[in-house]
Every structure is written in C-alpha cells, then in structure tokens.
C-alpha cells in the first residue's frame, strides 16, 4: 500500500456531483453554428488559414500554430466559413477575440485522417503531431501538451494523471473515466513514453468510486506495469496540479519552478484521452466532455463540439427562465461568462447555469478580524489575511515578498472568511497590477533611455558650439597653424568618445527593443486592457466594500 501525503489546509464544500452523473455522456447535436476562437490555449493565438466562404471538412485545420508556444485549431464539423472576426469569447477577461464562424452542413464529413504507429514514431514527431492536433491541457489550463511532454533532459520519475476533479458540480472527468477508461490509460502510457517516466500514478478523489473501479479494472485489462490508480481523500483543492503531485509523491513544486525539474509531470485524464485519440486515431481535438449543471432541469455531461454556442448547449439540459448568468468551471474557481452567446472552448469543462437562488450574492464585506481561518485552509501555506491587507493598501512589493505569486487562486480562503471578504479578487487585482507595472516599467526604462540620449545630444551640441566659438576666438587672436593641429586632435578624440557613446546607446536600444515593449501585440494590448478593466472593477469593489477601508490610526 502506497502512503499518500497531504497538503496543508483545504475545504469541504458540498460537492453537488450526483445531479450530473445520473445519465451517461450524451453526444450534443451539431449546433446551428460554431464560433471557434483561434486563441484557446496558452501562448500565441493561432493564425487563420481559411477564408470566408471556404468549405471545410471536419478535422480540417483552420488555424495554424504561431511560434513555439501555440497550438492548432480545427473545424469541429464540416461546413462553410461564414465569418472571421472578433467575437466575445469564454474567457475571464470578458474581451472579444478573433474567431472563425462556421455554418455546419450537417454532413459531419471527416477530412482524411489516420493514426500513426506510435511505437515506431520518433518522440519529436509525436510531439509535433500533438501540436498539429491541437491537444492542450483540458483540466482548464489549456497549456499545449506537446511542450509539456518534453522533460527537458530531466530524469522523470513520476507521471501524475489527474482525475481528482475536486471542484464541486464538475463531473466531466468522472464520467470520462467511467466510460472511456481504457483510452485514458493508453493515453497515459503514451505520455509516459514521451516523458520517459518510471511510473504512472492516477489520482482520483474517493468520492468517485465508480470511476476508481472502472480505471482499476482497465489497468488490469491493459496490463500496463508501474501504473497505479490511487484513491485520494476528498478535499478541495486536491485536484490542483501542485496539490495532487504533493498528495501522490510528496514533492512540492514552488511557483516559478517547472515540475519536470523535480522529476514529475501532471496531465489531466481528459488530456491523456485526447492525446491518445489524436495519435492513435488521427483525430484532432474537436470536442470535449462538458458538464452542464446548476439551474437546469436535467444536469448531465455532453460531448460537445468546440465552438458550440453556450445557450444551445444549455438548452439541451433544459434551461430555466430564472437563470441570470452562466459560470464556466466550478463555483470555486470558475469565471462568470460575459454572455450566453459565447461558445465553448477547449478550456470549458463545466457550465453552471446560475440563478440568484443557486448562488446568492455575497453579504456585505466586513473588515478582516484576523481570525486566520483563511490561513488555516490555504493550500499554498500563505497568510491570506496579510496578502489581502497588502493588496488593499496597494503595497504590491510587500505582497510579492509574502509570496503572492504562490497563490493558486483556489478560493478556499474566501470560502471560509467570516467577514465575507472577496479575497481572491484582491489577489487577482494585485497580480494584474504587478504585471501591468512590470510592463509599464519596461516602457519607462525605454523612455528614460531615450531621454538620456537626448540630454546627451543636447550636451554634445553645446560642447561643439562652445568649441567652435572658442576656435573662432582663438583664430581671431592668433591664427597659428600649430594651434589648429592641436585642436583638431582634441576634437577627434572627443568625437570618438561621442561615437562610442552613441554606439552604446544604440546597442542598448536594440536590447530593449527585443523585449517588445514599443510595438505591443494585440495580445499584450488585450492583456493591458483586461488589466485596466479589472483594475477599474476593483476600485469600484474597494469603494463599495468601503466600510473597512480606513487604515488604523496609531
């Protein structure tokens, strides 16, 4: 029996998983249109390679990856491209992004596709295929899987497969494990091969006995060695990658450290499944399992084409008239979607139709009473009450010093806070401020350089003028040839110093330019806009929470 580890803190919110696990996964019907965002992954937005009016087949690539950190995007069914434009997307920024709109022809006609002989294909080629198939992390992080399967020459001990699914309401991984366990395990074995990891540990929370049984049975059937399904205690957030790694291996991966450096890597079960489908069957990532739950008449899991409009999907589960908004993800870390018309993306694991009855608005915040209930539950061992104080007083240096970066925004602290303080909002605010400031600082450094150079030029002109003046005077006083020669020498020397200085300044300017602060990409602009928007919201929040904003008079 393997000994499991535990992490500090954690909470036990009501799980609400039973509602959506009564019926098997249902394939959602092809919607009236698909709005497929070109930016569904961490990294660079993919570049559209189709045009309006093009007819595309199911599985045909419509966006090619741009740069190393990127992934491909495909047509989820066959049909005609009707638009390539900015649309609201399911993303926490609430900003529009570039999307390909596809009107399905209803034939669902596949592009020619076939799997590869995995055993006889080079790892680099397999990674390339993952990238081409648009496989990204389906646990919500949507990090391109091809990059995560590269161990960077580190000796890999453990591959962790994350089936914990600790967030309330979400059951998509649970149902996937119950119904498609073998494919998940093939995928896990494939990822293990790519990483050259010694063992595979599959962690599943013990509130999913059916999934655990199905996976254990599949391990025996498949006969993979050094692959173990482990039941882990139900405590939120055990499904956080860092927390699950800690539970299964005892290894702690700090913020800013690659887990491969510690010899472990973690993939979600759905990612393993999709990786297998992509390589063994040549099916790019076109659909995913999504839990539709909350304020609907029959909550359940659907296999949904990427790009399906939210309201068409929710209608399948029986929308209710008093639904006021939709949450993507779970109630602890999910995001409030900007509209019911956005479409589902690779990051959408769950849609909760929400009404004021289901999630009542929080009571007004009171000041922090330092009760440290938040610190008691923080899985990152932080002192949330201190971070809150620093964020609120805009003391970002201190917030960083107190390891704000290690906060995984799990929301456990805000969940227990008796003063109802929206702690995580303050952390998001502080993080975006810190990010915005580092961008601003780069820009400011650049401006200062320009300013310094200008000062230098003005100085140089002054000196030259003075020199010319002096020369004239001297010419007038005594036009002696020897004198002239001397002067020329001095001037030369000075000019050389100046030239060197200019070269230096130029070199610096080039160096700064490489950091790309001058010409901001749409991504960066979007990010900054998002930061500004959030900042404005936060100021509003702080003004509303108001009551406790008075600093102590001491």
């Amino acid at each position: 029996m393997r000994t499991l580890f535990s992490f500090h803190g954690g909470v036990h919110p009501a799980t609400h998983k039973a509602e959506s696990t009564r019926t098997p996964i249902t394939r959602a019907a092809i919607p009236s249109k698909l709005v497929i965002p070109l930016w569904q992954h961490v990294g660079n937005r993919s570049v559209p390679i189709v045009q309006v009016g093009d007819h595309v087949l199911k599985g045909q690539k419509i966006g090619r990856p741009e740069g190393k950190l990127s992934s491909a995007v495909h047509a989820s069914t066959s049909g005609t491209v009707s638009a390539i434009d900015m649309q609201l997307v399911a993303h926490h920024s609430g900003l529009p992004d570039l999307c390909v709109t596809l009107i399905p022809d209803g034939k669902d006609e596949w592009v020619t596709h076939a799997g590869v002989d995995i055993a006889h294909t080079a790892p680099a080629e397999l990674r390339h295929l993952l990238r081409k198939a648009g496989v990204v992390g389906l646990g919500g992080a949507v990090f391109p899987s091809d990059l995560k399967t590269d161990a960077h020459h580190h000796q890999m001990r453990t591959l962790v497969i994350n089936g914990a699914e600790c967030e309330p309401y979400i059951t998509c991984d649970d149902m996937l494990m119950r119904e498609r366990a073998l494919d998940i395990l093939h995928g896990a074995e494939l990822l293990r091969e790519l990483l050259q990891a010694e063992e595979v540990l599959i962690g599943i929370e013990d509130n999913k006995p059916e999934a655990i049984a199905a996976m254990q049975l599949a391990v025996t059937q498949a006969g993979y060695r050094k692959m173990e399904v482990l039941s882990v205690p139900t405590v939120y957030p055990s499904g956080g990658a860092k927390q699950l790694i800690r539970i299964l291996t005892g290894i702690e991966v700090a913020a800013g450290v690659r887990s491969t450096e510690k010899g472990v890597q973690c993939f979600n079960v759905a990612t393993a499944y999709s990786a297998w489908r992509a390589l063994a069957h040549g099916e790019p990532l076109l659909s995913r399992i999504i839990t539709v739950t909350g304020n609907v008449s029959h909550a359940q899991n659907f296999e949904v084409l990427i790009g399906t409009p939210l309201n068409e999907l929710v209608a399948l589960a029986g929308s209710q008239p008093d639904t006021t908004r939709h949450i993507m993800g779970g109630p602890m870390m999910g995001v409030d979607l900007p509209s019911g018309t956005v479409s589902v993306t690779k990051a959408t694991n769950c849609i909760i139709a929400s009404s004021p009855k289901l999630f009542p608005p929080p009571a007004p915040a009171l000041p922090c009473i330092r009760c440290v209930r938040c610190a008691d539950v923080c899985p990152a061992d932080l002192q949330p009450q201190d971070l809150y104080w620093f964020a609120k007083s805009n003391n970002f240096g201190k917030a960083q010093e107190f390891n704000l970066a290690d906060c995984i925004e799990c929301g456990a602290c805000a969940y227990v806070c008796p003063s109802n303080i929206p702690l995580v909002q303050y952390y998001r605010y502080a993080k975006s401020e810190i990010h915005a400031r580092s961008v601003e600082k780069l820009a400011a450094d650049k401006a200062r350089e320009r300013h310094d150079y200008r000062q230098f030029r003005i100085e140089r002109e002054k000196t030259e003028k003075a020199q010319r003046l002096a020369q004239k005077e001297r010419d007038a006083a005594a036009a002696k040839a020897s004198f002239d020669a001397n002067l020329a020498a001095t001037e030369n020397a000075q000019q050389q110093t100046i030239n060197e200085a200019i070269e230096r300044a130029k070199a610096q300017a080039v160096g700064t330019h490489a950091l790309n602060t001058e010409a901001l990409t749409p991504e960066q602009l979007a990010k900054i806009a998002a930061v500004d928007a959030r900042r404005a919201k936060l100021h509003e929040l702080a003004a509303n929470a108001g009551a406790d904003d008075e600093p102590p008079k001491s």
Binding site: F7, H8, V11, P13, A14, P168, K242, E252, V253, A254, A255, V257, I327, G329, P331, M332, M333, G334, V335, D336, F359, P361, P362, A363, L366, P367, C368, I369, R370, C371, V372, A375, P379, D381, L382, Q383, Q385, D386, N403, D406, G411, A414, Y415, V416, C417, P418, S419, N420, P422, V424, Q425, R428, L541, A547, D548, E550, P551, P552, K553, S554
Partner: protein
C-alpha cells in the same frame, strides 16, 4: 461584481461571536448561582452601553450601522468587561468602562479588526487605575457570608448606593482570593495559614473556582466547535502553570500552587475568551505560542510581584503591543519552499 468563489461557508463574524457569547453562559450561570443575580445587571448595563456607543461611533465615523452593530463584537466586549469587574460596583463604573472600551480602544483605532488592544482589557485597565477602591468590592459567595441580598436590594445598591439598614458593605463584599492571598502574605502569614481562611475552597476562592470551571467548559466547547484553536489557551495555561510551579516548588509557603493560579481571577476566562480575541492576537501558530507563553509568565509575575490584584489584563495588553512584531518574525514557509532554509 461577481467573481469566484461563488459559494461561501455559512459562517459570519456575527455567528462566531454569538457562539462565543453562548460559551460564556455556563460560567455566568454558575456566577449567578454562587453570587446572586447582580452580575446580570452589570452585563445588561454593559450591553446597552456597548451597543449605544457602537452605534454612535459608527454614525460619527459615517459607517453603515447595521452590518457592524449586528456583528456581536461589541456585546462580547461588554460581557467580558462586566465579568471582570465587581458586580456590586456602582452603575456608572461599568457604563464608563464600556463606553471607553468601545469608543476609544475600538473605534478611535479604526473599529472592528483594527484595534491593537483588547477593548475589554483596556476598559478594565482604565477602571482599575482610575477607581481602584470600587474595583475591590467583590461579592462574598452567599453560602459563606450567610446573608443574601435580594435582587431589589442589589439593584438599590448598584443604582443608589444604598444598603439595607442592618448591613455594612464589609459584610457582603471582600477582596478576591488572589488579592487576599497577596495581602496576607505581605502580613507575614504562610500559604497554608491563608488557605485555611474561610474564603478558600478546594482549588482557589470559594465559588469563584467553580465559576472558573464554568468558563473552562465554555472554552472547551469553543475549541471543539473550532471557533478557536487550542494553541492560545493551552500555551497560556501551561506557561502560567509552569511559572507558578517553579516558584511553588522553591518555596511552597510563600508561593501558592499552580492550580490555585489556574482557578483564580481571570486566568480561565482570559485563556479561553480574552487572549483568543483574533483581532489582538498573532496570526501564526508559532506566534500564538510566543504570545500566550509571554502572557502566562507575565500574568504570574504581575500577580506575585506587582501591585494589582490580578495580572491577566495587563499581561494581555503588554503582549498585544508585541503582536505585529511577533507576526513579522514568525511567518511560515510557503508551499514548495519548506526546508529551503530561510
């Protein structure tokens, strides 16, 4: 604005404080049993004063009144202060003390969550410094004095200062068990002689020792229901016990037993209800130990060598001052950085 998490645990400051108030009830019930209902009068007076002062201060500070007045923290301050002063004290004493505690030591420091000192203990400190005589008229348990004031007679004394004709103040009040111990030791009596005096029971003062047990029971309830953690009370009582124990071992005739210290004065109510005020105690576990041990040792030293009848209040206030420093030096290591040698 809506943002995750969208769910919260059903708890609130107001509920937490209500539980703390509930946990005081066994102690208060035993108090009434042994000393009569006068304490209920001071608790009521203190509560009314606290709520009125709280409302007035919130209004002055232009804060929303409803969420704050219903947080039950002012009531808790009132109850703790009322339990720290003699129940037969004139009515204005508790009113002045409570008003000061709420207005000055809470609101002038920024209100809920921002006060560095425990408001009830500030109220107590102000009263004992300004009105030391009134603060020594503790009721004698009626089983001992043989006289029992009726509720009306108690009210008459609290509000008008009038006692029934046949009684003097001395007949119904006395110094506390701690105070008597200290005075008699000064007079040269030994601990054994003093303990034979009728005011003492099995552990400490007759009656008051049982009340202390009542508070301890309430405190255990708070720990079991996770309203407070065990660290502060356990460390405090252990430190008090250890310090008293050392002195007692060295000279048992001069230094009374550690158990006597546990069940005298404000030690029990302090350990479970006063030190554990979250606002004025450290946030880290290590910090809690330092804080509570410091308070335990100081309580003993003030009791044994200081000029005040009890040491709990001043020990708490002295340690309150150190809290920011303690917190700053006891930051725990974060995830992934443990054992990184900081």
């Amino acid at each position: 604005m809506f943002s995750s998490p969208f769910i919260t645990q059903p708890n609130s400051v107001s509920q937490i404080m209500l539980r703390v108030l509930l946990a005081l009830i066994p102690g208060i019930a035993l108090y009434v049993w042994y000393f009569g209902p006068a304490i209920l009068v001071s608790i009521t007076l203190a509560s009314i004063t606290a709520l009125a002062t709280e409302a007035a201060m919130l209004k002055l500070r232009k804060r929303p009144i409803k969420p704050f007045i219903s947080d039950n923290t002012a009531l808790l301050t009132a109850w703790l202060l009322a339990l720290s002063i003699p129940p037969l004290a004139p009515w204005w004493l508790i009113v002045v003390g409570t008003a000061f505690a709420i207005a000055v030591s809470k609101h002038l420091y920024g209100g809920l969550g921002s006060n560095p000192f425990n408001p009830a203990m500030i109220g107590y400190a102000v009263l004992i410094i300004s009105f030391p005589v009134h603060m020594t008229h503790w009721l004698t348990p009626h089983a001992m004095s043989g006289v029992e004031l009726s509720f009306i007679e108690q009210l008459n004394y609290i509000f008008n200062g009038v006692l029934p004709n046949h009684l003097t103040l001395d007949a119904i009040t006395m110094a506390t068990a701690l105070d008597t111990m200290k005075t008699q030791l000064h007079l040269g009596l030994s601990v054994t002689d003093i303990r034979d005096m009728p005011i003492y029971g099995h552990l400490a003062g007759k009656g008051s020792e049982i009340v202390a047990i009542g508070f301890a029971i309430g405190g255990l309830y708070l720990i079991l229901t996770r309203i407070i953690t065990w660290h502060l009370p356990v460390a405090y009582l252990a430190a008090l016990f250890a310090t008293a124990g050392i002195f007692h071992l060295v000279d048992p005739q001069h230094y009374v037993t550690p158990l006597f210290h546990w069940f005298s004065g404000a030690a029990m109510i302090g350990a479970f209800f006063i030190l554990t005020d979250p606002v004025t105690s450290p946030t880290t576990v290590k910090g809690k130990f330092i804080f509570a041990i410091g308070a335990g040792v100081l309580t003993y030293l003030i009791r044994a060598f200081g000029g005040f009848p009890d040491g709990m209040a001043f020990a708490t206030l002295l340690m309150n001052i150190c809290v920011p420093l303690i917190d700053a030096y006891t930051q725990p290591k974060v995830f992934g950085k443990k054992g990184a040698g900081k």
